[in-house]
């Protein structure tokens, strides 16, 4: 399972981090914390690394036009999912009047009015991300919506380490998975004989993803160390 190529993506990210001066007027504290923390090396066993597993529910697939409806995340330390770190944020609707959010996420407009602003939500998210490896199932959406937010608010591109449980499964499919099947979170979990959780709830999906990652770690590495570099490579978009 040698997935190392000449270029180590983590080294590249670390260079990117060092090139940025964290102390910039107006940057949220969380972003400064991300920039202050050195990145882990490719050899580190992911069991030793703090992870932030998260999920966005959005009003659509287009990061430029659509918006984030809710965020949920949970931290994993030493291979243990700590529910006391679990957070779920509903984001305020701006002028969104299409019913898609309601239809998909059962979040009615009144609930959204009690939510937090997009800026406040991201500020909390940056703080949670600092010093952690990020884990998402099907990370394309979360990466795109994050990038869009940074761009819109004149913030720098951040040196974030992303793991994607969907890509990891596709890179190392179990024998039974050859010949392409569904890679949806709930279907993958069923294959790992993990319990059924309600879908389309950002926090519930984040916890579901965290469990899937632990199950993947055991299937792929058993008692052996699971070096971060291999996970990062397998997770590349």
């Amino acid at each position: 399972m040698n997935w190392f190529t000449a270029k180590d993506p983590l080294k590249k990210l670390e260079q990117q981090r060092q090139a940025l001066d964290p102390v910039q007027a107006g940057w949220p504290e969380g972003i400064q914390a991300i920039l202050r923390t050195p990145l882990p090396s490719a050899e580190t066993d992911i069991r030793q690394l703090p992870l932030l597993v998260f999920d966005f529910e959005t009003s659509g697939l287009n990061a430029e036009r659509d918006r984030i409806v809710s965020m949920g995340w949970v931290e994993v330390h030493q291979g243990i999912i700590a529910l006391e770190s679990a957070r779920h944020l509903l984001l305020q609707a701006s002028t969104d009047t299409d019913g898609s959010a309601v239809a998909l996420h059962h979040i009615v407009p009144e609930m959204q009015q009690h939510g937090v602003s997009e800026a406040a939500a991201f500020d909390k998210l940056w703080s949670a991300m600092a010093g952690k490896v990020l884990v998402v199932h099907g990370a394309v959406m979360e990466r795109e919506f994050t990038r869009q937010y940074l761009r819109r608010n004149a913030l720098p591109e951040l040196p974030l380490v992303w793991l994607d449980t969907l890509k990891i499964e596709q890179a190392f499919p179990a024998a039974s998975e050859r010949g392409a099947v569904s890679w949806r979170l709930s279907d993958l979990r069923r294959r790992y004989r993990l319990p059924e959780y309600p879908a389309h709830h950002a926090l519930s999906d984040a916890i579901a993803t965290a469990e899937l990652l632990l199950a993947q770690r055991f299937r792929l590495f058993r008692q052996q160390p699971a070096p971060l570099g291999e996970w990062v490579k397998a997770s590349r978009p």
């Binding site: 004989r193 519930s204 916890i207």
Partner: protein, 622 residues
């Protein structure tokens, strides 16, 4: 966090005992304190290094617990709770150590024990069910069962039923003055004697006045303290009336003082009170039995016996008292049948004793108890006398069978000629069994190792009983043989998902609670009791005496008692449920009817029994 968080965790916890007794917002607080672990097949659970004690709930998968020597402690599956044994228990010397390994890929929810207790602090009944020691958890689970049905008089606090019109005197009051007070106090049959703190120290009934004062010509100017009864059976006013009934039946007494928690007497309860207000008349069953004129009349009383049993179980009466009451009823049926046999067959030609054996002798009767009995005859009995007693035994055994005490499948009954014998023959039996404890004889001894006189000549019985005791007590060779025999049956530790070992007549898998736990305990406790030369027959009494003689330490006694009461209670509850479904009340529990928490208790019970078997093996050398 908002209410809707962690719905997956809360939905999982909601049906699981004892979490099902918590409202949803509290479950959310519990869920927030949890962590999720994944153990791949073959992986071992790391001991927490942060000094925190944790409980674990298996979400999906299976684990095995093993003792340090590698022997299996338990196998657990979905929804099982574990970790109690990994926590330090203050009353126990070292916390028992075991390792936990996944035998399947397993998802586990973990919660800090202290954090859990903090989250559920407002729900003491749930806290007690999550108590650290297995026996106290079992005991608390005995106390949470309450019937939702209309409870009737017997299930009301005795304080509601008691007569508060009572006569109270001091110990110095002259006897005549007490009699005068009793006369002036309307509708009371006794006086209570209290000290300067108003604590109840004695009582005097009108019957006592007749027997101890009038009949003996006792000086009526003497203080009442010189003649009063000072050994009292009392009930607290917040206890159930059925407990007072239990005491009346158990000790054959009519007047029971009702006291408050400061031991101040507040009332009196008598059978009249209970009968006046209730149609069940349970306490008169024994009276009715002793006056029945035929076997058919006795048979007609069987439904009343069942009604009393149901009332006792529904009233959450302790399994100890239920066993005592059922034993008294069994004795009463037996005694009356011997009387009826005599009136049918004529006077017996020689002295005899009708003996109860097995669980009936030990006072551990339940609703599916079958017959274990025997007849002991005077050594002068001739062959024709034995012929009389064969008919006698036939009459009694058939009568008992008609009253719901099924015939013994092993034919350990007086109606079998082998078990209807003269004193010397019985003495030979015991000598043979005790000196040459081979397997086929052990089977006989196992039934007759406990015997109790029920009817006939008590003096004759005592001759045999003394001989029996002399033969079997402190007999090292016999103890070793009994131990080997006791270890032939092991509790089903290899339980996983299903608690199952046997198949019943319909080929349905069932748990035989008698075989799996009750018998193992009876056998082990007997061995300890024989070793300590304890003469009492009842298993619970034996355990308590073993503690008095320091033959067992306090922790072991608590474990043994807790497990014993739990297992016997479980059987009574099962038999009660079977009756309400119109099924036969037997020992066969359907594991599908257990919740995961009950399964956990059972597993705790089995591992305690198994631990005692190991300890006995070490001590007595199997």
């Amino acid at each position: 966090m908002t209410e809707e968080l962690l719905p997956n965790i809360v939905a999982f916890l909601q049906p699981i005992k004892p979490f099902n007794q918590l409202p949803v917002p509290v479950l959310h607080r519990v869920a927030e304190q949890m962590a999720i672990l994944y153990l791949g097949q073959g992986e071992t659970l790391d001991k927490p290094t942060d000094g925190t004690g944790y409980l674990y709930i298996i979400r999906t998968g299976a684990i095995e617990q093993r003792h340090p020597d590698g022997s299996l402690r338990a196998r657990l599956g979905d929804e099982d709770i574990f970790g109690f044994g990994l926590l330090h228990e203050s009353w126990q010397q070292p916390a028992p150590d075991y390792s936990v390994q996944a035998i399947d890929n397993t998802l586990i929810y973990r919660i800090g024990y202290q954090a859990l207790l903090d989250a559920i602090a407002d729900y003491p009944e749930v806290v007690s069910q999550l108590a650290l020691s297995a026996w106290s958890r079992m005991e608390s689970s005995l106390n949470v069962r309450w019937s939702d049905q209309e409870k009737g008089l017997f299930f009301r606090p005795v304080g509601d039923v008691a007569n508060r019109n009572i006569a109270v005197v001091t110990p110095q009051t002259p006897i005549q003055e007490v009699a005068r007070i009793m006369r002036d106090q309307v509708r009371t049959s006794c006086a209570f004697v209290v000290d300067e703190n108003r604590t109840l120290i004695g009582m005097m009934t009108d019957k006592d006045m007749t027997k101890r004062v009038v009949a003996r010509g006792h000086d009526i100017r003497q203080p009442i303290a010189s003649v009063m009864t000072d050994q009292l059976h009392t009930v607290y006013q917040d206890e159930l009336a059925i407990r007072a009934t239990g005491l009346m039946m158990q000790y054959n007494i009519q007047n029971i003082p009702v006291i408050d928690r400061q031991h101040h007497v507040v009332g009196l309860v008598t059978p009249q009170q209970l009968v006046q207000k209730n149609s069940v008349q349970a306490i008169f069953l024994i009276d009715q039995i002793s006056r029945a004129h035929s076997s058919a009349e006795l048979q007609a009383l069987t439904p009343t016996r069942q009604a009393i049993f149901e009332a006792l179980v529904d009233g959450n009466v302790s399994p100890t008292v239920i066993a005592q009451v059922l034993t008294m009823i069994y004795d009463a049926f037996t005694r009356r049948l011997t009387e009826l046999a005599i009136s049918y067959l004529g006077e017996p030609p020689c002295a005899w004793s009708w003996m109860a054996a097995g669980s009936h002798a030990r006072g551990e009767v339940h609703l599916s108890s079958d017959q274990d009995n025997a007849l002991l005859l005077d050594d002068g009995a001739t062959d024709s006398d034995r012929h009389y007693f064969n008919h006698f035994a036939m009459y009694v055994c058939k009568g008992l069978a008609d009253c719901g005490y099924t015939l013994c499948s092993g034919r350990f009954m007086a109606v079998t000629p082998t078990w209807c014998q003269r004193l010397t023959v019985w003495q030979n039996y015991y000598r043979k069994w005790a000196t040459n404890p081979e397997y086929e004889w052990l089977l006989n001894l196992n039934v007759f190792i406990e015997i109790r006189h029920v009817a006939g000549d008590g003096g004759l019985f005592r001759q045999l009983d003394d001989y029996r005791h002399q033969q079997i007590s402190r007999n090292v060779k016999l103890l070793a043989a009994l131990l080997r025999n006791a270890l032939r049956v092991r509790p089903p530790l290899g339980i996983f998902h299903k608690l199952v070992l046997e198949k019943d007549g319909d080929n349905k898998k069932v748990l035989n609670i008698k075989r799996a736990a009750i018998h193992c305990l009876v056998d082990l406790v007997r061995i300890y009791a024989l070793h300590a030369d304890i003469e009492t027959l009842n298993t619970e009494d034996r355990i308590l005496q073993l503690e008095d003689r320091q033959a067992l330490n306090e922790a072991s006694v608590q474990d043994m008692l807790g497990t014993w009461r739990y297992a016997t209670q479980l059987r009574y509850l099962h038999q009660r449920l079977a009756l309400s479904r119109g099924e036969p009340p037997d020992n066969m529990l359907d594991p599908a009817r257990f919740g995961s928490f009950e399964r956990q208790h059972l597993k705790d019970a089995f591992s305690i029994v198994s631990g005692f078997q190991e300890a006995a093996k070490m001590k007595f050398g199997g």
